[in-house]
Each structure stands twice: as C-alpha cells, then as structure tokens.
C-alpha cells in the first residue's frame, strides 16, 4: 500500500503544483473585477472551494468511521483522523476568509446568518472530535469513540444547517461583471478550476497525512517493543 500511496502522492503533487500556478494567475490577473464588490470578491475563489473541501473532508470522516466500525481495520481510523484534521484546517480557512470578505461587502466582520453559523458549529463539532481523540484511555477506545462521533456529527450537520436557516436568513451571493445577468463565463471557468485545484490539494494532503498516520502507528509500536526489550 505504501508504494501505491507514494505514487498517487507524486501524481497529485505534480497536478496540484501546476494547477495552483494557473489558478493564482487567473484569480489575480485573468479574471475581471466584480461589479458590486470590487477586488475583495476574488477571495470567493478561495472561500467557496475551501468550504466544499471542508464538507468533503467531513464526509470522508463519516464514511471512514462507518467502515471502521464495520470492518475494524485500523486503516479506516487512521484515514478518518487524517481527514478530520484537514477538515478543521480548511474550516479555519473558511472562517477566516469569510469575515475578510464580509467586512468590506456587508460592513461587518461577522453575522449570524445560516452558512457562517453552521460552519462555526461544524468547526466546533470537529474540534471536539479531535479533542476526544486526545483524551481516550487506549488506542482502541479512541478509534471506536471517534467513529461514533464522526457518524453522529455528520448526521447532525444538515439538521443544524436547516435549523439555523429557520432561525436566520440567507447568504447573499451576487457576482456579476458588466450589466449582464448570471455569472460571467471567465469567472465561472476560474471558479471551476479553483474547485478542482482545491479538491486535488485536499487529496494530496490527505494522502500525506494518512501516510504519516500509518507511520506513526508503526513507530509507536517499534518504540514500545524497544522499551520492553531494553527493560
């Protein structure tokens, strides 16, 4: 498995490296400035893909958790852990880029509207997931409990989103260039490109973090063996 992962990683890395360069060029130079929001709107090309990756990451946590409980193979637990960490990272990006975008556009750093609030709550759920992993008594318990939380958390998220929406209004998104209706094609292309880039970036980081997790397990085992033999 290690060799497969390493090959995948190299492929991803080359793709991502290339795509990132192209994206950055397009986002900062290629794409026209949006009419109502100005230059700051360019953050959108990072904010939305980050949000997408964040949800994708948590879906991976959900699926891995189920697979772990079903098969009891520790690799699924390692994958879930890796994905949760990445999810939290990208969630942080969303929560930072959101207010940066909001301030000039809505006049306020934060607002309790549906998507931001849900993202914040989501963030708390997965931070709690990571904290839980640190407080268990043994590795086996950690895997089981994390899996349970991974499943419950993910099932709860759409409900949370729905409830916050009931409570508050909607996420205003307007982006146009010139006077036309709908999304400018150049913007659309750039946006899709950024989505693909971020997804591949996530895949790359996930593979790396996953490999790291596997290595850590082995290292831990070797350390314990050494301790016992040395004693």
């Amino acid at each position: 498995m290690e060799t497969v992962l390493r090959r995948l990683e190299t492929v991803c890395f080359s793709l991502v490296a290339g795509l990132v360069v192209v994206c950055l060029h397009r986002v900062f130079l290629g794409v026209p400035t949006e009419v109502t929001m100005g230059v700051v709107q360019r953050i959108f090309y990072f904010h939305v893909p980050s949000a997408w990756v964040c949800f994708l990451a948590f879906f991976v946590v959900f699926a891995s958790s189920i697979l772990y409980l079903w098969t009891r193979k520790s690799v699924w637990d390692t994958l879930a852990h890796a994905s949760a960490e990445l999810g939290v990272v990208f969630c942080t990006i969303v929560l930072i880029t959101g207010p940066i975008w909001a301030r000039p556009v809505w006049g306020t750093w934060w607002t309790w509207e549906a998507r931001l609030t849900t993202t914040l709550i989501l963030y708390l759920v997965y931070v709690a997931y990571l904290v839980l992993r640190g407080q268990t008594e043994n590795r086996d318990q950690e895997a089981r409990f994390a899996a349970v939380l991974g499943i419950v958390g993910f099932l709860d998220v759409p409900i949370i989103y729905f409830s916050v929406k009931v409570w508050r209004g909607h996420h205003p998104i307007v982006f146009k260039t010139g006077g036309g209706q709908g999304l400018d094609p150049v913007m659309l292309h750039t946006f899709m490109l950024c989505m693909v880039t971020f997804t591949l970036l996530f895949a790359l980081l996930l593979i790396q973090r996953f490999r790291l997790g596997l290595l850590r397990e082995e290292l831990q085992e070797l350390r314990e063996q050494e301790q016992i033999l040395g004693a």
Partner: protein, 227 residues
C-alpha cells in the same frame, strides 16, 4: 420468564440510586437557581426597561441547557465509579436496552429539575406562565428527550475518558444546537401568547430530531460498550 425488561431494570436502578441521596438533583436544582440569579443581575429588568418577554425564552433555555448538562454528566459518573459499565456489558443483555434504560432515567431526572425551575423562574421574573404552561411544558419535554438522547450517548463515551467534565459540553452543545434554536423560538412564541399554529412546527421538528438521535443512539451504543 416474568422478568421486567432490562431497560426498565436499568432505569429503575438509576432512579433508585439518584433518589437515595438526591445529591445530583439538589445540586442541579440549586445550580439552576443560581443561574437565574445571575440573569437577574445580568439583565436588570427594571433598569433596562426590558420586558421579560423580550429575552425570557433565552433566560429559560440557558438555565435548562446547563442544568440538563449537569444531570447527564452525573448519570454516567455513577457507572464509572466502580466500572459498572463493564459489569453491564457482561450481562446477556442487548446494548440498546442499556441505552434506552439510561435514556429513560436521564429524561426523568432532567425533566424533574426543569419542571421545578420553570415556575420558579416565573416567580422571579414576574411573568405569567399559567396561560402558556402547557405549550411551554410540551416544548421543554420534547427538547429534554432530544438533549438526553445525545447526552446519554456522549456521556457514555466521555465518562470513560479523561477530562470528561470538559469534554461532554464540548461534544453536546454544538450537536444540540437545533434543539436550543427551536426551543427558544417556540418558547418565545408561547410566552407571547401566540396560537399553536405559530409554533407547532418547531415542536414537530424537535420531535423528529429526538427520534433520529434515539435511533442513532440505539444503533451506536453497542460500539461504546463492546470493543
């Protein structure tokens, strides 16, 4: 066999333990009272010219949420004290019965404190609960069930880990947000004297939430007990 179901056995056992000393109930009750006191200082109704109706629902729900948390934390602490959870796992009993048994006991204990606090808060803050008593009571019950469902599941985990007092609220509060949102909104509408059509859907939503997470709890509890 003529034996009562394990679920009821466990529920009765928990309640019996609790009523033997009543320490958790009393502590939780007085805690809720203190929270009300803090609110009285935090929002000086006379000075600020606020009517209770404005933020009353919020006051009630913060009190209820924190007291429910206390009750739930306690329920698994008693199991932990002598590794009783392990003894339960040894019994030839379906884990879902254990979950449901503890759930029922938790709901009872959570509700007991909450239904005692409600009239008291009406007294302190001078609002009329009598007109809205039944609907508010209903909202409280439905939310207590959901909160307890999540809480029972999570507390079973955190009781076996370190820093459980910190971990349980950390897990429970974000997950229970929908209940708090719907509960506060419904209570506010009830206290404002609105008709059932206005808040009925919120109660229904909470009820759905309850069902979903009771089912999820039943399915997943096994994995918390057995390795």
């Amino acid at each position: 066999m003529g034996n009562p179901s394990p679920m009821l056995l466990i529920c009765r056992k928990d309640l019996k333990q609790e009523f033997r000393t009543r320490e958790s109930l009393t502590a939780t009750f007085f805690f809720a009272l203190l929270v009300q006191l803090i609110f009285a200082f935090a929002f000086d109704f006379l000075d600020l010219g606020l009517g209770f109706a404005d933020i009353g629902a919020g006051v009630i729900w913060i009190t209820l949420t924190f007291s429910a948390l206390l009750s739930l934390q306690h329920s698994f602490l008693i199991e932990r004290e002598r590794d009783c959870l392990q003894a339960l796992a040894l019994c030839p009993v379906d884990p879902s019965s254990i979950f449901l048994g503890k759930l029922l006991a938790n709901i009872a204990l959570v509700l007991l404190v909450q239904l005692l606090i409600l009239p008291l808060s009406a007294l302190f803050f001078g609002y009329d609960l009598s007109a809205a008593a039944v609907p508010v009571g209903l909202v409280v019950v439905v939310n207590a069930v959901g909160f307890s469902a999540l809480g029972t599941l999570f507390a079973a985990m955190t009781a076996q880990t370190r820093r459980s007092e910190l971990l349980l609220p950390l897990l429970l509060f974000p997950a229970a947000t929908p209940l708090v949102i719907w509960g506060v909104k419904a209570t506010r509408l009830c206290l404002a004297g609105r008709r059932p059509e206005a808040y009925g859907y919120l109660v229904a939503l909470s009820a759905c939430f309850d069902v979903i997470f009771i089912v999820v709890g039943v399915l997943l509890f096994d994995y918390i007990l057995e390795e």
